[in-house]
Amino acid sequence: MDQDVVQRVKNDPNYQKLVKTRSRYGWMLTWAVMIVYYGFTCLNAFDKEFMGSRIGAGVMSWGVPLGLFVILFTVVVTGIYVRRANSEFDALTDAIQRNAAAGQAAPASQTNAEPVKVRA
């Protein structure tokens, strides 16, 4: 890739916003998954008695709904990320790509034209 394009993209406020927001969001959700999964694993390793104990009058134990919660959480959290990425993050990406292409086509004197802004 052209070094000019790289610099132009890096200076695009949309790009800085995209990288910052998306990476923070991605890592936050990653930690959420880690905490839920390794929390579940640690409960199974350290407090087997609790996981096997009955919730109410029936045989249902705490472990089963907690396990199902981990499965549902995994799916839902993936969905939450994909939803935001496919709307907000993709809109930013489109704007960045348009700016990069516009900058490339325009003569050097106009490359500092106002970049397209996206509400996100």
């Binding site: 890739m1 694993t41 390793a45």
Partner: protein
């Protein structure tokens, strides 16, 4: 059905990594009476897939068609294919067997396979799609000296693929012997030939569609079984569990964790192997290159996660269904009170209990189709590592003669097919569960750290990636050799040197630390080039600028 049936584990353990932890007895599957319904159902499946291959062959002309179906798979289709790669016969038979034997422990095992997906979505999927073309080495070696990093990535791919292949081939042989009453050798050769036909003529297009069809069949079959079981208990899980607790020999303890997690370190180490191994499996990673955009890549992981999560919930219900319907029925047991064909057949017997002979045939055929589809995907990813990474990029310096890359990948497919059949034959008695856990551990400790650091860490260098990657690979294999499954069970030493069930926690640290140490101490000229290349790589990985050309055909 002789009375000499021993506990089979091989079949399902096939990939049943968890079995490595549960450490069940291993034995050989006993050949069963020939099951004609199952054979006819399977023949129908094979004919259908051969038609697909014929159709796909017309569309497979370029290397890009062969490796990635020309980038023309939609997110939904790719999601099903990824789910298909994951819902192996092992997941289906192995997890339902684990639930049948120990209840709740089977659920812990299943969850481990699922939790890697969100992490892949948040941190890897999009960047992979934006940087790569055909193999994960395209991504790992993006800004580095091609030769050393490609050589490492190809080694990592081939080692992972080979261990996984052996497990699948051995599992296939055992399963077919059991389900269809065919000879082990015949079964292994049959799998080898069919798989080669799909890959050679249909490339990624055929491999993907075979996987999609199988995934739909498996999801439909498992849904029907779980529905039938729940229907018998008025759709009340409480009633089902109550009955299971009443009839199971372990009573109340099936509702809580048992011996699956032996100690916290093994539990966490094993969890890490499953979670991060998923993000380093070459046949899974290559699926991100078959979709046209980052948006579709994200959609495909969401679909995959949804299907896999749904499938594991079904498997849990199926396991409990087997406890109440199969475990209590003497018709499914031998004279000693053991399940015919071993615990791994719990789901298959349940199929017969809820749907009779025809449905039993259907589920048997699906189980075979599953192995076939997974094996085809594995072979394709091994072939791409040889033809794209070693031949086209390293040997021909990225300038292969027109058509030669495709030819090399087809030749490699044949060689890999022959090797797979030979190894499957030689390793008939190997503990397949251990092979698969090794494949996951290597993927997590070698492929994943290199991929992760090269994409996200600006100071990573060629030397760091190559040395660190190999260190992770060697540590994972070394610690496995020193663990109980090899040191005691294969070499017959008295006690193991490495006390935990999975090396991942340690070998991943070695891999990451190796990449870091050999990068920060790297003062070479090449290191300067590597670091200078990060900006351009980062911009492309975040925005896809420059990647569009690679996928537009």
């Amino acid at each position: 059905m002789k009375n000499t049936i021993r506990t089979l584990s091989s079949a399902a353990l096939l990939a049943a990594t968890g079995a490595a932890m549960a450490a069940p007895d291993l034995g050989q599957a006993t050949k069963q009476a020939t099951n004609y319904t199952a054979i006819i159902m399977f023949a129908v499946f094979v004919v259908l897939t051969l038609f697909i291959t014929k159709w796909a062959a017309k569309r497979t002309r370029s290397a890009s068609d062969f490796y990635t179906a020309g980038g023309g798979i939609t997110g939904f289709q790719n999601g099903l294919a990824i789910a298909g790669d994951f819902m192996s016969a092992a997941s289906f038979l192995g997890i339902s067997a684990a639930v049948f034997a120990n209840g709740f422990d089977g659920l812990i095992y299943a969850i481990g396979f699922l939790v890697g997906w969100p992490v892949i979505t948040f941190l890897m999927a999009e960047r992979l799609r934006n940087l790569g073309r055909f193999t994960f080495a395209d991504v790992a070696a993006y800004r580095f000296a091609q030769k050393p990093v490609r050589m490492f990535a190809a080694s990592g791919t081939l080692v992972t693929v080979l261990f996984y292949l052996i497990a699948q081939m051995v599992g296939a042989g055992q399963l077919i012997k059991l389900l269809f009453g065919l000879d082990y050798g015949v079964a292994v050769v049959l799998v080898g030939i069919l798989m080669m036909v799909y890959v050679l003529f249909g490339g990624m297009t055929a491999t993907t569609w075979v996987q999609i069809i199988k995934a739909v069949m498996l999801l439909a079959g498992a849904s029907f079984m779980a529905f039938s079981v729940l229907a018998m208990y008025n759709f009340s899980p409480e009633q089902l569990f109550a009955k299971a607790v009443e009839v199971h020999s372990k009573k109340d303890s099936i509702m809580g964790p048992g011996n699956f997690i032996k100690d916290p370190i093994s539990g966490i180490s094993f969890g890490m192997a499953l979670m991060f191994g998923t993000a380093g499996l070459p046949h899974i990673l290559m699926r991100f290159f078959t979709v046209p955009s980052a948006k579709e890549a994200r959609k495909s992981v969401l679909w995959a996660t949804t299907w896999i999560g749904y499938f594991y919930i079904l498997t849990f219900i199926i396991g409990f269904g087997a406890i109440v319907l199969v475990g209590t029925n003497p018709a499914f047991k031998d004279a000693a009170g053991k399940l015919l064909g071993g615990n791994n057949m719990a789901a298959v017997h349940l199929a017969s209990a809820v749907g009779g002979d025809v449905f039993l045939g259907f589920i048997s055929a699906v189980a075979f189709a599953t192995i076939l589809a997974v094996v085809a995907g594995l072979t394709l990813s091994g072939a791409s590592a040889v033809s794209h990474d070693i031949y086209a990029t390293v040997i021909k310096k990225g300038q292969p003669a027109p058509g030669s890359e495709l030819r090399v990948s087809k030749i490699t497919t044949i060689i890999l097919g022959i090797i797979a059949v030979a190894l499957g034959y030689v390793f008939e008695t190997v503990n397949v569960a251990f092979m698969v856990s090794l494949a996951f551990a290597i993927a997590a400790s070698a492929n994943f750290p290199v991929l992760f650091m090269s994409v996200l860490w600006s100071k990573c260098t060629t030397r760091g990636a190559t040395v660190g990657g190999f260190l992770g690979l060697i540590t994972a294999v070394g610690l496995t050799i020193l663990s109980k499954s090899v040191w005691v069970d294969v070499f017959h030493n008295k006690t193991e040197i490495f006390p935990y069930t999975s090396p991942a926690l340690f070998s991943m640290i070695v891999g990451f630390a190796g990449v870091w140490l050999f990068s920060v101490t790297d003062k070479s000229k090449r290191a300067a080039i590597d670091m200078a290349g990060f900006e351009a790589q980062e911009v492309r990985s975040e925005t896809g600028i420059g990647a569009a050309a690679a996928s537009a055909h």
